[in-house]
């Protein structure tokens, strides 16, 4: 349980609307939840990873319309510092009810900002819906570029979708060409900060979602907080999201748990290793977890 965090319910789910599904990464849960929340006033804007000036280089963006949310669909496997806009959202945009999507580390940063609002004046009470996405690792843009252009021999501008799953990093283009490389090749391009990361399924989000655990086109969804539960149930009722029980779904929570355990255990031992207890000559590196 520790590995999957606390949750009130878990579902196999997808967006109820074809337009959202057309270009979303998995079941379009993030986009559907934000679109529903925006339409019904649960949020008045959401911080998402918008398209940047280069292909697949995400740029944090504050979406205040459904069109803007749609433009930000899909996973960019590169760092999108979404928290950078959290204060801006309350200032320049004047949002009182903020939605934000983020990797587990970004959701951790968000919760820290709420409990320790050191440089975050008037932010803590303005977070209305935090959507977390599962995350095994992330890549600096140049790393991603190298993986696509060098290892996959594909021009990044022509890529229509990237995907990580079943041990492979896959690249799709218009013509349906599909290059795949084993994940083992990608490891050296990961940002080092990911190696001390102790969260896989965004344990501190209101709702967290990812592809692992459910069939293609569907998402695994953990509903975690009271705010998340209220919003999710209403979105299901209103038909924005189709949710089904996880019972009997293959590969199901078993795989999610397995991956979460692998990631967290590996990173825990890496943090230990940074202590270099076995090498008297080496000084320990800093441990961020107190």
């Amino acid at each position: 349980m520790e590995y999957l965090g606390q949750y009130k319910a878990v579902y196999k789910a997808k967006a109820g609307c074809e337009d959202i599904l057309a270009k979303s990464q998995d079941g379009g849960i993030v986009t559907a939840m934000f679109a529903y929340a925006l339409e019904t006033g649960i949020i008045d804007g959401a911080i998402v990873a918008g398209p940047g000036d280069e292909a697949y280089k995400p740029e944090p963006m504050i979406a205040t319309t459904v069109d803007e949310l749609l433009a930000a669909r899909g996973t960019k496997y590169s760092i999108s510092p979404n928290m950078a806009l959290i204060k801006e959202a309350t200032r320049s945009y004047g949002l009182d009810k903020i939605g934000i999507v983020g990797t587990p580390c970004q959701i951790q940063a968000l919760r820290k900002a709420q409990l320790y609002p050191i440089g975050m004046r008037d932010v803590p009470d303005k977070i209305a819906l935090a959507m977390g996405i599962f995350c095994m690792e992330n890549f600096p843009y140049q790393g991603l570029f190298q993986m696509v252009e060098d290892h996959c021999a594909t021009k990044i501008d022509n890529v229509t979708k990237m995907d990580i799953g079943k041990g492979k990093f896959s690249v799709y283009t218009e013509r349906g060409v599909n290059s795949q490389i084993p994940l083992k090749v990608t490891h050296k391009y990961e940002q080092p900060g990911c190696h001390v990361c102790l969260d896989y399924v965004a344990n501190m989000a209101d709702i967290s979602t990812g592809s692992v655990g459910t069939p293609d086109g569907w998402s695994t969804v953990f509903v975690r907080s009271a705010a998340g539960e209220a919003a999710f149930n209403k979105a299901v009722e209103a038909g924005w999201i189709v949710a089904e029980s996880m019972d009997g779904v293959k590969p199901g929570l078993e795989l999610v748990t397995k991956l979460a355990t692998e990631k967290i255990d590996k990173n825990k031992s890496y943090i230990e290793h940074r202590n270099h207890a076995e090498h008297a000559a080496l000084k320990p590196l800093r441990n961020p977890y107190i």
Partner: protein, 321 residues
């Protein structure tokens, strides 16, 4: 969860509380006032159950309202600061009144409490750095340390020197004032609240946690300790901070996850995100320490942050007038 549920029931178990007494609240209650003169009713049931609340006869028309027996005493000590930190404290608005009503007596505070000399107090919030050329400030910072149980460096100036690091004297009135030190260079400091200005919400949280630390039961003390530990560690870590800490303590240590919190935290917008990592414009940085302290990879407690929902609810509940 257990800890917080228990904690919550301790605080609210017997229902609430003190209706509409704010207006009659004296600005500063004197500590040595005879207890019998204080209005003790309604006995504040928003307090922890195990607190000693002496049953006193209800005084029908009290001259002064003091609904809570066991508040902590807090002072705001003003050194070389711009008063922005004090404004930030006051920017809790009605929240400040709630704090003063239920949890803390402001026993010393420039402009808000008319007291000349630094009295004995539980918590001293010190704003500003100390100028070595200013004998009075030197005396006052020592007096503060002697008279306060917990010394909190409030804001970037007190913690790290902040903008006063850049003072070279020559200002009107006191042209000779040129050597400004963060208070931790002169006395032992217990807790840091970095940033310029520190946020009203962060000051509020520290005040509430200090209250629990001093007046709570064992479990409440445990929560307060867990919450305050990182801020105590910051105080123990030193008196220098800068945007460069992101580089030396986070990126160079292989810890940065590219979340962007540092960029959001910086008041002077010295931090931008380049290729997912912070880039600090060093000429803009005023050395307030907010970016590093805000970073989830400077410190992160799963015990505290993991309970964000219950703690947030709790703070909201506790801050109800």
């Amino acid at each position: 969860m257990g800890l917080f549920d228990k904690f919550k029931s301790l605080l609210f178990g017997k229902g609430d509380v003190s209706e509409g007494t704010q207006d009659e609240k004296p600005v500063a209650s004197k500590q040595d006032e005879p207890v019998s003169a204080m209005h003790k009713s309604p006995v504040n049931e928003a307090k922890p159950a195990d607190m000693k609340v002496e049953q006193k006869p209800i005084i029908q028309k009290p001259k002064e309202e003091k609904p809570v027996a066991d508040k902590i005493t807090v002072g705001h000590v003003h050194m070389s600061g711009c008063t922005g930190c004090l404004v930030s404290l006051a920017d809790n608005y009605e929240g400040l009144l709630t704090i003063l009503d239920k949890y803390a007596d402001l026993v010393y505070c420039l402009t808000l409490a008319d007291v000349r000399h630094i009295p004995k107090m539980d918590v001293a919030l010190v704003e500003g750095s100390v100028c070595l050329n200013d004998e009075c400030s030197m005396e006052e910072i020592l007096e503060t340390r002697e008279n306060a149980t917990i010394v909190v460096a409030l804001g970037g100036c007190a913690c790290y020197g902040n903008t006063t690091r850049f003072c070279r004297g020559g200002q009107q009135n006191q042209p000779q004032h040129e050597a400004f030190l963060p208070i931790g260079d002169l006395i032992k400091v217990d807790v840091y609240i970095p940033a310029c200005a520190p946020t009203p919400q962060q000051i509020r949280n520290v005040c509430l946690m200090a209250y629990l630390l001093l007046k709570g039961n064992d479990e409440q003390k445990a929560l307060a300790t867990a919450y305050l530990t990182p801020l105590m560690n910051l105080a123990a870590a030193g008196t220098e901070a800068c945007g460069c800490d992101l580089m030396t303590e986070v990126i160079n240590q292989g810890l940065c996850c590219g979340c962007g919190s540092c960029a959001a935290a910086c008041t002077v917008r010295a931090v931008t995100m380049q290729y997912g990592k912070p880039q600090v414009e060093r000429d803009l940085c005023i050395k307030c320490g907010a970016c590093y302290a805000q970073c989830p990879r400077s410190f992160f407690s799963f015990d505290v942050c993991g309970q964000y929902e219950s703690i947030t609810n709790l703070i909201t509940e506790v801050m109800k007038p």
